[in-house]
Symmetry: C2
Subunit: 142 residues, 2 copies
C-alpha cells in the first residue's frame, strides 16, 4: 500500500490538521500561501478514479469541508481545488484560499508570480490559519 520512494507515504507533508484511516488533512508549507491545505489519501493510489465510489465520497467530503471552512473563516476571493500529482503521483487534493492581491492571482499558485509577496498580509493571514485548522479538525470530527 505504501511506496518507499513516495514523499507522501513517508511523511505527513505539512502540518497535520486532521487524520483518520482514509486520509489526512495538512496545512501545506508554501511560501506566500498560508491558507493552502491538502487532503492526502492514505493509500498510495495514483488517480482519483482509483478510489471506489464510496472512497471518492469520503475524499470529496474532506475537500468540501476544508473549502467550506476556508470560505467561512477567510472570505477568500476564490477557492482553488486541484488534484494534479505530476511530480508526486500519490492522490492529494490542493485546497487553496486565493485572494485577488496574493502573489500569483489570477494565475495558479504553481505558475510565475504576478507581484511580490506582501509579507504583512501573509503574516496576518497565517495568524488566522490556526483558527482555520482548528475548525477544519472540528468539522471533520466524527
Amino acid at each position: 500500500m505504501a511506496d518507499a520512494l513516495c514523499p507522501l507515504c513517508e511523511a505527513d507533508g505539512g502540518l497535520l490538521v486532521f487524520g483518520n484511516q482514509f486520509l489526512r488533512i495538512i496545512q501545506a508549507n508554501e511560501t506566500g500561501f498560508p491558507a493552502f491545505y491538502r487532503v492526502v489519501w492514505r493509500a498510495h493510489v495514483r488517480e482519483f478514479s482509483d478510489l471506489s465510489p464510496a472512497e471518492r465520497d469520503i475524499c470529496m467530503h474532506a475537500v468540501v469541508t476544508v473549502e467550506q471552512v476556508l470560505r467561512s473563516e477567510l472570505q477568500p476571493d476564490k477557492i482553488n481545488l486541484a488534484a494534479l500529482g505530476n511530480a508526486v503521483p500519490h492522490l492529494h487534493w490542493h485546497v487553496i484560499a486565493r485572494f485577488a492581491d496574493d502573489s500569483h492571482f489570477p494565475s495558479p499558485v504553481w505558475c510565475a508570480p504576478q507581484r511580490p509577496v506582501d509579507d504583512q498580509k501573509v503574516a496576518a493571514l497565517a495568524a488566522r490559519c490556526a483558527d482555520v485548522s482548528r475548525r477544519i479538525a472540528e468539522a471533520m470530527a466524527p
Copy 2:
C-alpha cells in the same frame, strides 16, 4: 441563474461532447492539449461548495467519467483535475490527460512550457480524441 458577463453562461466554451440539465462536458480548445476536457456546471455558481451534496455527486460523477475514459482510451501518464476559476468564476472542472513528453509536463498546463509542442504527437492525440469524446458521451448517456 445566468450571468450576462460570464463567458461560460454565454457559450459552450469548447466542442460540446455531452450535456444534460445540470452540466455539460466540452473538449477544450487549448493549444498542445487535445485531451483537455471540461465539466461545466450549467448554473452560474462560483464554488464547488455552492452545490448541494446531491449536485456535487452529479458533478463529480461526470468528472470521474471523463477521467476514466481518458485513462482507458489514452493511457496518460497522469490525469490532472482542477476547479480554479480565478479568471472565470463559474464552476468548471478541468480534466486533462497529461503525458510525460507534453509541452508542460510536469508543470501544470497553465504555467510556462517546459519544451516545444510536438505537432506530430499532438495531431496524433487529437485524432484519437474523436473516439474519446464519443465514449464520454456514451458513458454519460442515461
